[in-house]
Amino acid sequence: MDAYKLMKELRVNYEQEVFYLPKETGLVLIESSTRDESRISAKCRDVQVEDLWSLTSFFGYSTQTFVLAVNLLDRFLALMRIQPKHLSCVSLSCLHMAAKVTEEECDVTSSDELIRIGQARFTASDLCRMEKIVSEKLDFKSKPITALTFLQLYHQIALSHSMDRKETLSLEKLEAQLKACLCRISFSKAKPSVLALSLLRLQIIAVQSEDMLEIASHIQRHLKIADGELRLWSERVAQCLSDYASPECSKPNHRKLQWIVSRRTAQNLHASRSVPELPTIPEGGWGESESEDSCEDVMSSGEESLSSSLGSDAEGPYFPLHYRQQRDRGHLLA
């Protein structure tokens, strides 16, 4: 697609994106709510989105599916007040719906498998009902416009302007970064176009490309995005990305994962580590020199006798230490 058409499409999407934004007041409400049994908190939502990311990755779904699922989830949560115990049902139905419209039919995982792997406590029919509810509330007919839409467009535009830069600006990397951002509810308040542009700019700055920076500014002017807004979100995105890329590993959260093993393995695991019944025999110091035993002459011939060869003259603590040690070393295993 040539540059002109791309820019036009950009414009169209920009005008449409506002229809797919989650209600800001709803998001703020979630962010501000404290740990409470009856309300969803930001932390709840973030954890849920991380789980969605794991599942997306596990089932091999595309980034598009993930972004779409998060979009549906945020919009729904911003509209409806739901109880925390229903949150996993909502999020899995969003994922399932997103997969159905994005992925090929053969690649969509069945609801049963989704529930089993996601270690969820509801049934497939619950999932189905929830999907209907979400679909109705959000009037889900067409594919929403998300930050990914813009990211892909920006990427295309940037490439079309400078063909030799294909390698440096990686769409996959941008997508991964976008996923990282979406795991925090605060970024759902940003306009997708602005969020995507922030990501783009940050990567352009990282690869230090002057002409691409030009292109980014061009896009900004074309869409009439305010400087202040762009700067604000760029800062936040930069912060998030530095956490994401830090070499420090965060401790995985085991709390929820169920480890179900087969009966045989479970038996195996519970088999008690053999508690030793025999009391420990401490190794003696010098008293244990093998030369102390003076029964060598009792041994029948033909028997390989090691200690017996030492005889009785190596006995006793009065014997020079270095000589004893030599004897010790001479006693090797066959």
Binding site: K251, L257, Q258, S262, P276, L278, E283, S294
Partner: protein, 482 residues
């Protein structure tokens, strides 16, 4: 007359009718029990090799009870009773000498009590007589195995027929050794290397009760006779080496290992070179034996004890296990995985770093094993907190090794439970190191796409060739050339 089996050459007393490496057939491990297919076996539970020629019945003059005799006379009476108990009876003939057998049994019982509670009975003369009585009773040629195909895992062991007496003799001997009055300096004249050698041979007995007593006896002897310790260790080495490299037959491996466990536990630091040699040359090769399941728990305990004593041994131990990793026996693989987890439970982080690469390469193979128990056991490592902490610290090395097989089996494994466990593991990795995980996912995906593309191109090429062939064939005269 009673004939005693006596041996001067070590460890050749068991009359083997054939080499030990016969059966067990492959279908016995890996889940299919031989019991389910074998025919009813004739029940023959007892055996003994103590026999005597048909002769006069044994007559023992009944002696008064020890408690009925005044204290000064007791030591002498004690010796007389010991002398009487040297007579051995034939238990294979269940009807002979019943009265005398009962007399000996009650005498032995009496002796056991006497040794336990008495004071001042242990004169110097008692020692040789005690040892003589014990030797007469227990030292014998063990009966040959009933069938060539005795499999310790499956079949019932053949029990010792003379157990009613034998048990009391062992009991008596143990209490004698443990008695407060026992003096090793006197006893060592009679409990010597020859005695110990014969004792060790008895460990090959099929009767587990006897082996249990022998274990206690040898343990006490090792504890009390410092001068015999090196000898005992050496003989045990010989037994094990013969077991591993020559016969693969010895019934007492578990018991000997249990004793060794208590010895290893008491090693002084720094460890002597002899002990380290033992670990590498004897204990590790013991893992290769087919009948590992019979003594694996004790063997693993020994290994872990060694590592707790000297952590620098970790690397040779793990490399040894990896070298001997079972390739065709899944039951053994599960055992190895269990042992490895026990080792990892006590490993030091610096040691872990040294062996993590070969270790996780093997774990990666286990995880993708089609045998679900192996895969499950390996995946369960990720439920171990300490192992997880080690993995976290080194995720940049470990994750690339594990990733490909984990990702692949999440799509391809036949067992749904395994797939669910893999999810747990992948999720843990994802949370540990997101950037690396994303990179690896991207690489994996692009690799797969490349492969798919090649596959497709290859198919199209074949199709084109087919079309070409047909076209060429039909062009001239409608006949397809062969």
């Amino acid at each position: 007359m009673v004939v005693q089996g006596d041996s001067s050459a070590p460890l050749q007393s068991r009359a083997m009718s054939s080499a030990a490496t016969t059966s067990p057939s492959v279908d016995k491990v890996d889940g299919f029990s031989r019991k389910s297919v074998r025919k009813a076996k004739q029940k023959r539970s007892q055996s003994s090799s103590q026999f005597r020629s048909q002769g006069k019945p044994i007559e023992l003059t009944p002696l008064p009870l020890l408690k009925d005799v005044p204290a000064p006379e007791q030591p002498e009476l004690f010796l007389k009773k010991l002398q009487q108990c040297c007579t051995v009876f034939d238990f294979m003939d269940t009807l002979s000498d019943l009265k005398m057998k009962e007399y000996k049994r009650s005498t032995l019982n009496e002796l056991v009590d006497y040794v336990t509670v008495s004071r001042g009975y242990l004169t110097e003369q008692a020692y040789p007589d005690v040892v003589k009585m014990v030797s007469h009773n227990i030292f014998r040629t063990l009966p040959p195995s009933d069938s060539n195909e005795f499999d310790p895992e499956e079949d019932e062991p053949t029990l010792e027929a003379s157990w009613p007496h034998l048990q009391l003799v062992y009991e008596f001997f143990i209490r004698f050794l443990e008695s407060q009055e026992f003096q090793p300096s006197i006893a060592k004249k009679y409990i010597d290397q020859k005695f110990v050698l014969q004792l060790l041979e008895l460990f090959d007995s099929e009767d587990p009760r006897e082996r249990d007593y022998l274990k206690t006896v040898l343990h006490r002897i090792y504890g009390k006779f410092l001068g015999l310790r090196a000898f005992i260790r050496k003989q045990i080495n010989n037994i094990f080496l013969r077991f591993v490299y020559e016969t693969e037959h010895f019934n007492g491996v578990a018991e000997l290992l249990e004793i060794l466990g208590s010895i290893i536990n008491g090693f002084a630091l720094p460890l002597k070179a002899e002990h380290k040699q033992f670990l590498v040359k004897v204990l590790i090769p013991l893992h290769t034996v087919r009948s590992l399941s019979l003594f694996h728990a004790q063997l693993a305990y020994c290994i872990v004890q060694f590592l707790e004593k000297d952590p620098t041994l970790t690397e040779p131990v793990i490399r040894g296990l990896l070298k001997f990793w079972p390739k065709t026996c899944s039951q053994k693989e599960v055992m190895f995985l269990g042992e490895l987890e026990e080792i990892l439970d006590v490993i030091e982080p610096t040691q872990f770093v040294k062996i993590q690469e070969p270790l996780f390469k093997q774990i990666s193979r286990c995880v993708s094993s089609p045998h679900f128990q192996v895969a499950e056991r390996a995946l369960y490592y990720w439920n171990n907190e300490y192992i997880m902490s080690l993995i976290e610290e080194n995720s940049s090395v470990i994750l690339p090794i594990m990733f490909a097989s984990l990702y692949r089996i999440s799509k391809e494994h036949w067992n749904p439970a395994i797939v669910a466990l893999v999810y747990n593991v992948l999720k843990a990795f994802m949370e540990m190191n997101s950037t690396l995980f994303d990179e690896l996912t991207a690489t994996y995906k692009s690799d797969r796409q490349r492969e798919k593309k090649k596959e497709k191109e290859r198919e199209e090429l074949w199709k084109k060739l087919e079309d070409l062939e047909l076209k060429r064939g039909l062009r001239s005269d409608g006949i397809i050339p062969t």
